[in-house]
């Protein structure tokens, strides 16, 4: 079996003292920057690139990869503890994870995230090892019409993210889409809603928006509440998962892993949708959908598994095709070039020890993350008992640094402050921010893919129905919409919401 020879080669590279050391440094740094609100893998990796000059290529890539998936791990910690999603993938985790934390179940939520991520990471790494080339070919079959259909499906499913009024959720999605439209039009270069500011030419920064409406808005809301003004939780209940918890998270982890592994392969938006999709599906098939949005453990397990699986499989286009699927992968390609390796489809054959070494290191890295993070849960949870007058200024300070570091853009800090106010108003109006963020992410992509599909088909709209993948997804979207709109189903939803 060739695959075993390859894996043996991979582990022989990854299990050297030096590479295990760099893998550890990577995941440790990744976890740390993931935990600090707003600091993401992109500025960290950019900062560390000069250090990798002197390392062998495999060690450099192993460390940088560790930072990336370590940050996915750490990001969920902040999302759960203080409602601060630093990356699009942890927005969904924040919804129910933070509610669990407020109920004193932060330990269980963090443990679920860690276990789900480990399982998903291991499975996705295995998929990467066995099926990377065929999966990459599958991703290439996705043209603009298919992406458009996928975005439509995602948008329809996003209504399911709302725990309350469907109308309000739709309003939030539309508001999000409108906010997402600001910036230079991709096709004509025309600036939209930029007020002649070059800083706004690329639109509103996602991290600033997300941290504003979630984190800062939540802090402001907490401040007005006299009774809960001292600390977030008085008493932390059991850190470990009960038997009932474990029973409830097995299914969501499996489904989340599957969804994330598949969507992660698709460059340009696939990975972003995975955690949203995993959440929506769990809510649809759950026997107690009324708990979603109020601290359902399934709603942490599924999206966390999905985003970590997606983080691993997003390496597939980069490693097998030399095409970056997100800014982190673009940085990895930059690192390869600096090392004198020309990225492209030939890397697998020309540099087998690099390719398989990185894959093997991912498994080791995921194991390290679990070993590293489970004992830390107790410490993270105690953070919640830090008095607000110490905790909040610290969070706000870190948020400012983090948001600034994304683009070295001072305007982003003010954007975050503005959306903090927006977030507070939304809480007062009982509107949920998650559909807004999904609209913000999907809206511009919806437009981009629609116009691109139309340009390529030269104005022929049947292209969406004559291509099988696109037609299937649009049919699914119609089906999902029908389910939402069917009166009997709606009545049941309304009953559920009254509880």
């Amino acid at each position: 079996m060739e695959i075993f020879d390859n894996l043996a080669l991979g582990f022989s590279v990854a299990v050297t003292f030096q590479n295990i050391f760099y893998c550890f440094i990577g995941v440790l740094l990744g976890t740390l920057i993931g935990v600090l609100p707003g600091l993401g893998p992109v500025p960290t990796i950019a900062m560390l690139l000069p250090i990798t000059f002197g390392l062998p290529p495999v060690s450099a890539l192993i460390m940088l990869a560790g930072i990336y998936y370590g940050a996915q791990y750490g990001g969920s910690t902040t999302a759960i503890l203080i409602n601060l999603p630093g990356e699009s993938s942890s927005v969904v985790t924040a919804i129910d994870g933070y509610q669990m934390a407020r109920k004193g179940r932060a330990g269980a939520a963090l443990a679920t995230a860690a276990i789900g991520s480990f399982f998903a990471g291991s499975v996705a790494t295995f998929l990467l090892a066995v099926f990377a080339p065929p999966l990459a070919d599958l991703a290439l079959k996705f043209g603009p019409p298919e992406y458009f259909a996928l975005m439509v499906l995602g948008l329809v499913a996003s209504v399911a993210l709302a725990a309350g009024s469907v109308i309000k959720a739709l309003a939030m999605v539309v508001l999000g889409i409108l906010l997402g439209l600001s910036g230079q039009d991709v096709y004509t270069g025309t600036p939209r809603f930029t007020f002649d500011m070059l800083e706004l030419a690329d639109g509103i920064e996602f991290v600033a928006l997300a941290m504003g409406v979630f984190g800062i808005g939540e802090i402001v809301r907490n401040l007005e509440d006299e009774h809960s003004r001292k600390v977030m939780v008085q008493k932390v209940k059991g850190l470990l998962l009960s038997k009932e918890d474990i029973r409830r998270i097995v299914g969501p982890i499996l489904r989340g892993t599957f969804i994330g592994s598949f969507l992660g392969i698709l460059p340009g938006g696939g990975a972003i949708l995975s955690s949203f999709a995993a959440y929506s599906i769990e809510k649809k098939i759950s026997r107690h959908p009324e708990e979603f949005g109020k601290g359902a453990i399934e709603a942490v397990a599924a999206p966390e598994s999905a985003n970590n699986a997606g983080a691993q499989t997003s390496f597939i286009p980069m490693l097998t095709l030399g095409i970056p699927s997100n800014p982190v992968m673009a940085l990895m390609i930059g690192a390869l070039i600096i090392q004198g390796i020309v990225p492209g489809p030939n890397v697998v054959n020309e540099q087998p020890s690099l390719f398989w070494g990185i894959i093997a290191s991912m498994w080791i890295g995921n194991l390290m993350l679990v070993v590293l993070n489970l004992p830390l849960i107790g410490m993270w949870v105690r953070l919640l008992t830090v008095p607000y007058h110490i905790l909040f200024p610290l969070i706000v300070g870190f948020c400012c640094i983090g948001v600034y570091s994304v683009n070295n853009n001072a305007l982003d800090v003010f954007t975050m402050a503005l959306f903090g106010v927006v977030g507070y108003v939304l809480v007062k109006l009982d509107c949920e921010p998650a559909p807004l963020l999904l609209g913000f992410i999907i809206g511009p992509m919806l437009e981009e893919y629609l116009r691109r599909a139309m340009l390529i088909s030269r104005g022929d709209p049947t292209v969406f129905f004559t291509r099988p993948i696109s037609a299937t997804m649009l049919a699914l979207a119609v089906l999902a919409l029908a389910v939402v709109l069917l009166p009997s189903v709606r009545r049941r939803r309304e009953e559920a919401f009254k509880e």
Binding site: V42, I45, A46, L49, P50, L140, F142, G143, P144, Q184, V186, Y187, G189, T190, P191, D196, L198, E199, A201, D202, I219, L223, P267, G268, L321, G322, I323, P324, S325, P327, A330, L331, M332, G334, A335, I337, I338, G340, I341, V342, P343, G344, P345, N346, V347, Y388, H389, F392, P393, V396, G397, C400, N407, N408, N409, V413, E448, R452, I456, R458
Partner: protein, 328 residues
């Protein structure tokens, strides 16, 4: 309200931290790290060029040259930041051909490309290649030209966005052939390459940095290079000039700039370090991997760079105005 005060203090501290120290004396320049602004995201081809040069310059100058990515607005945000920076030699810009084209592409640029910068020297000219999807009918550059003239706007040409090098190359190609193809912009080269390899679009013209790997693996068809001479790493590819497009020349040239008013002594030190970097064997080797080479020592001077920039601004002005595409 306590926490608001805390936040204000944190913000103030942050603001203080970014105010640059002033008043360093020229003879001990440089006595602290130099910031090299790259007006694009980390990991891209320009960033890679900058990091290779910065690393070598650090060794010559005895101070770290730190690359700072200030992406956005087609490179004009980063360039604008450098134009307004203190002219003390501690802030430099590494920009590509976009510095020249932005003068025409952006009608409301808050700085003047020709008068708000001191040129330090040219760095490298990265060649571009015209590539097509693997199933595209024509096999040679001559066949491609005939094919495009015949099919006209049924040919789908992808580029990396308004004002990108691939956009410029496409405009020049169309004006050289006197025909219009259907242009499909993407947000960056990555997604465009994805659709080209997947066969969704027909043609693209991009830097060898991005295309060499795909060409050598046979995932795309290569037709021609856009430079005057053939490229060493792709010796079989003809130039467009060889196949009957006289004067067709476009390369992603890179140059280094400092804010207007930077003292001559500082510019000279920076230029000397740049020249040394361009002779550094490691830089030469990595540039070769990218399908390029450093410019000659004669071209890596402030004067040649200044004249070249002015010539490039003049060269692209009519091409862009004729296409009628502006970025604002």
């Amino acid at each position: 309200m306590k926490s608001f005060k805390g936040a204000a203090v944190a913000l103030a501290a942050l603001a203080l931290a970014v105010v640059p120290f002033a008043g360093a004396r020229a003879q001990d320049y440089p006595n602290r790290p130099i910031t090299m602004v790259v007006p694009f995201a980390a990991g891209g081809p320009t960033d890679t060029v900058a990091r290779l040069v910065a690393e070598s310059m650090s060794r010559t100058l005895g101070q770290q040259v730190i690359v700072e990515n200030v992406g956005g607005a087609g490179g004009t945000r980063g360039a604008g930041q450098v134009a307004k920076a203190t002219p003390d030699g501690y802030t430099v810009l590494l920009h590509h051909i976009g510095q020249a084209t932005s003068a025409t592409l952006y009608r409301k640029l808050p700085y003047n490309v020709l008068t708000d910068f001191e040129t330090v020297g040219l760095v490298t000219d990265v060649p571009m290649t015209m590539i097509g999807k693997s199933t595209l009918e024509p096999k040679t550059a001559a066949e491609l030209i005939a094919y495009v003239k015949d099919k006209k706007d049924a040919v789908i040409y992808g580029n990396a966005g308004v004002g990108s090098a691939s956009h410029l190359c496409g405009m020049l190609f169309m004006s050289a052939l006197g025909t219009q193809v259907t242009t499909v912009p993407y947000q960056g080269t990555g997604p465009a390459m994805n659709d080209l390899v997947g066969g969704q679009i027909d043609l693209m013209c991009d830097q060898t940095t991005n295309t060499t790997g795909q060409i050598k693996a046979g995932k795309v068809k290569a037709f021609a290079v856009t430079t005057k001479d053939r490229v060493k790493s792709l010796p079989d590819l003809p130039t467009f000039q060889e196949v009957g497009l006289p004067g067709f020349e476009v390369a992603v040239w890179h140059g280094m700039y400092a804010p207007k008013g930077t003292p001559k002594a500082e510019i000279d030190k920076l230029n000397a370090a740049l020249k040394a970097a361009l002779q550094d064997p490691k830089v030469i080797a990595r540039f070769a991997d990218l399908g390029t080479e450093p410019v000659s020592q004669e071209r890596a001077t402030p004067q040649v760079h200044k004249e070249f920039l002015a010539a490039e601004v003049a060269k692209w002005k009519p091409v862009i105005e004729q296409a009628g595409v502006f970025a604002d």
